[in-house]
């Protein structure tokens, strides 16, 4: 069965605006993210990689729905939970794996690891180990865009917990005062590590903070890629046209623990199961099929291909080049300047 190129006229804008090819590409990225993280988790468990990692399993719709609106000359700043943003923005999973394995082929030549992956060529200015660290950096990138009179945007990912950092306040204020092309994407997964938003803030939504900066805000179902993408596309267009920043809050959930050390003492099994039932991937698949934009077989093919790509990526990474341990101080400074 051949699927049509776009959805019927009664479908929501997301399905009309994007071609079936684009939508299937989005699904592919969601799978890549999911399998990437599962693969990384397994590699960690098998002792192949060290350190820590923060999995975004369950949050793939917000990562892909957001970055779909972007082109390579747009920037993103990401977080400690950044694999999804990275793949969404166009990074190659095998080079990400190479980074996890600490290899020269990795995006950061093995110097950065999970928390610092950046793919500058696709406009990803980097994950960040500091909660809130990327917020003012995105504002700075947007300032550069404005100065250079480009119609690009800077998309800034951050969590609900990060919205309690002073950096959030200062960044949103400056973006607003200077009317910069920033799209602030809050992935509100209900917890900053173990602390629920109820215990860390007195408002219900992070979006409730936007009016303090005279900034428009939207709240969306972060597990629905269509919801996310529609809001983000509007915010991005607004920013490109000089309208200034918007805050988009994606309500979502990480089904895995915060990091490897998490014993899940702060939330119930029921809550986790509830959210697992709202997995963004099957949700998207069902809509694609319902709108006649993809067949069940195509969906399976996408998943299988993603799995193969991930397996190949891990293999690539395993066989990568170890950095020379005498090169510790390499790249601390630029060679031209040393």
């Amino acid at each position: 069965m051949k699927t049509p190129k776009t959805a019927k006229a009664n479908a929501r804008p997301f399905y009309q605006k994007h071609s079936a090819a684009e939508l299937k590409e989005a699904l592919r990225k969601m799978y890549l993210i999911r399998r990437f993280e599962e693969g990384a988790e397994e590699a960690y468990m098998r002792g192949l990689i060290h350190g820590t990692m923060h999995l975004s399993i369950g949050q793939e719709a917000s990562a892909v729905g957001s970055t779909m609106a972007l082109r390579n000359t747009d920037y993103i700043t990401s977080t400690h939970r950044g694999h999804g943003h990275c793949i969404g923005k166009g990074a190659d999973p095998k080079l990400m794996f190479a980074e996890f394995f600490g290899k020269e082929e990795g995006y950061c030549r093995g110097r950065g690891g999970s928390m610092h992956i950046a793919d500058v060529a696709t406009g990803n200015l980097g994950a960040n180990g500091i909660v809130g660290g990327g917020l003012p950096i995105a504002v700075g990138a947007a300032l550069a865009i404005k100065k250079q009179k480009r119609d690009d945007v800077a998309m800034c990912f951050f969590g609900d917990g990060a919205s309690n950092e002073g950096a959030f306040h200062e960044a949103l204020n400056m973006a607003s005062v200077w009317k910069l092309p920033v799209v602030f994407v809050c992935e509100n997964n209900k917890y900053g590590m173990s602390v629920s938003t109820e215990r860390s803030m007195s408002v219900k939504n992070v979006a409730d903070r936007a009016p303090a900066y005279g900034m428009p805000a939207v709240i969306v179902d972060g597990n629905s890629i269509a919801d996310v993408a529609e809001a983000i596309e509007a915010a991005t267009e607004h920013a490109r046209k000089g309208g200034g920043p918007t805050l988009v809050e994606c309500k979502t959930y990480r089904t895995r623990g915060h990091s490897r050390s998490d014993r899940n003492r702060y939330r119930t099994k029921e809550e986790i199961e509830d959210w697992k039932a709202r997995d963004p991937i099957p949700h998207f698949e069902a809509e694609l099929i319902a709108h006649g934009l993809a067949s069940a077989d195509e969906v399976t093919a996408i998943r299988v291909a993603a799995e193969a790509e991930i397996a190949a990526g891990i293999e690539f990474a395993r066989l990568g080049t170890d950095p020379d341990p005498t090169e510790v101080t390499r790249d601390v400074y630029s060679p031209e300047a040393a």
């Binding site: 110097r111 180990g129 500091i130």
Partner: protein, 329 residues
């Protein structure tokens, strides 16, 4: 009747005993409650003392530090845990401009009795923003006291002394030490702040080491002993105020000094140790240049081999000390 605890357990026991003894003591930090702390140091304390005394705070490091200062001014004794010492970079304003200076600026009219705990150091594969050693920064700041105990025993005793102290005390805890074990008495004893500890007697060279480097230096000393090189290892324990007298005395005996520390070599704590000896009466006793083995001039890399190469390791310490004693370079 000896009892062993891990370094993390020793901290937890000190915190518990301090809270039992003084209702003004409370703990604050990120995920120190039901999560038990990122390194499981506070563990189950929240169940014993309640959420009011083991307070999970929003992710607001600057604010938390300021809250600790204010609570200290108003009669409490806060113990603030930073999840990683790296995040203290967000709180330097309150630590350095307020906590450290308030007593002085106000002409001695107030005290700021607070304790801040900083899990620090590399070795966990957490890369450049989660592995720093910023102890030298705080040791540069008058008004602060800075301690860096290396054993469960000293940790418990010095942490209790820190909580007693009327002035702000900064506690650096090496993450790789949390699971190391040692004898720890049950009672609430104190180990004084400001006194170094001669961890090993020797006559050929004095090593002043801090934190995890004490253990690496002791290990190196064992190897060198077999070669007939007798190493004295001083565990500095307190970075500010520094116990210069103990070091001087040792150098007068050994005539050689090496400083071993994890922080970046340039302007790390070894720079100060070296400079104090070079300006002291012990200078005349020195038979060789003062050796510093410190961290590389780079951020901490992620790759495990690079990460190890970025800070002193036992083989490098052995080699450095051997060359220092035998005069090779």
């Amino acid at each position: 009747m000896s009892r062993e605890l891990t370094y993390a357990q020793a901290i937890q026991e000190a915190l518990a005993q301090a809270m039992e003894a003084d209702p003004n003591v409370f703990l604050m930090g990120e995920d120190i409650g039901v999560y038990g702390g990122a390194f499981q140091v506070t563990g189950d304390l929240v169940h014993r003392f309640g959420e009011d005394r083991v307070m999970d705070a929003p992710i607001s490091e600057l604010g938390q530090a300021g809250v600790a200062v204010g609570a200290a001014l108003a009669g409490c004794k806060p113990v603030l845990e930073f999840q990683f010492s790296d995040f203290a970079t967000l709180a330097m304003e309150q630590i350095v401009n307020q906590a450290a200076k308030l007593r002085f600026m106000l002409g001695g009219k107030v005290n700021v009795p607070l304790v801040m705990r900083f899990p620090a150091g590399s070795g966990t594969g957490a890369a450049a923003q989660h592995s720093q050693s910023i102890d030298a920064w705080l040791a540069h700041v008058p008004g602060l006291k800075v301690i860096q105990p290396s054993t469960p025993h000293d940790m418990k005793g010095m942490l209790l002394a820190a909580i007693d102290d009327p002035d702000p005390v900064m506690v650096f805890e090496h993450k790789l030490l949390y699971k190391t074990k040692g004898e720890v008495p049950e009672e609430a004893y104190r180990v004084p702040i400001g006194k170094a500890h001669v961890a090993r007697n020797g006559k050929h060279v004095t090593v002043v080491a801090t934190s995890i480097m004490v253990h690496k230096s002791l290990e190196a000393a064992e190897t060198l002993a077999a070669e007939g090189i007798d190493v004295e290892v001083i565990d500095l324990r307190t970075l500010r105020p520094m116990d210069t007298a103990t070091i001087i005395e040792s150098v007068k005996k050994t005539s050689r000094l090496a400083c071993v520390y994890e922080g970046v070599k340039t302007l790390g704590i070894g720079a100060e140790i070296s400079a104090r000896i070079a300006e002291s009466e012990a200078f005349d006793y020195l038979d060789a240049p003062i050796l510093r083995l410190g961290g590389a001039e780079s951020p901490i890399p992620y790759n495990p081999q690079l990460e190890k190469a970025a800070v002193p390791q036992v083989p490098g310490i052995i080699e450095g000390l051997r060359n220092l004693v035998t005069g090779r370079t």
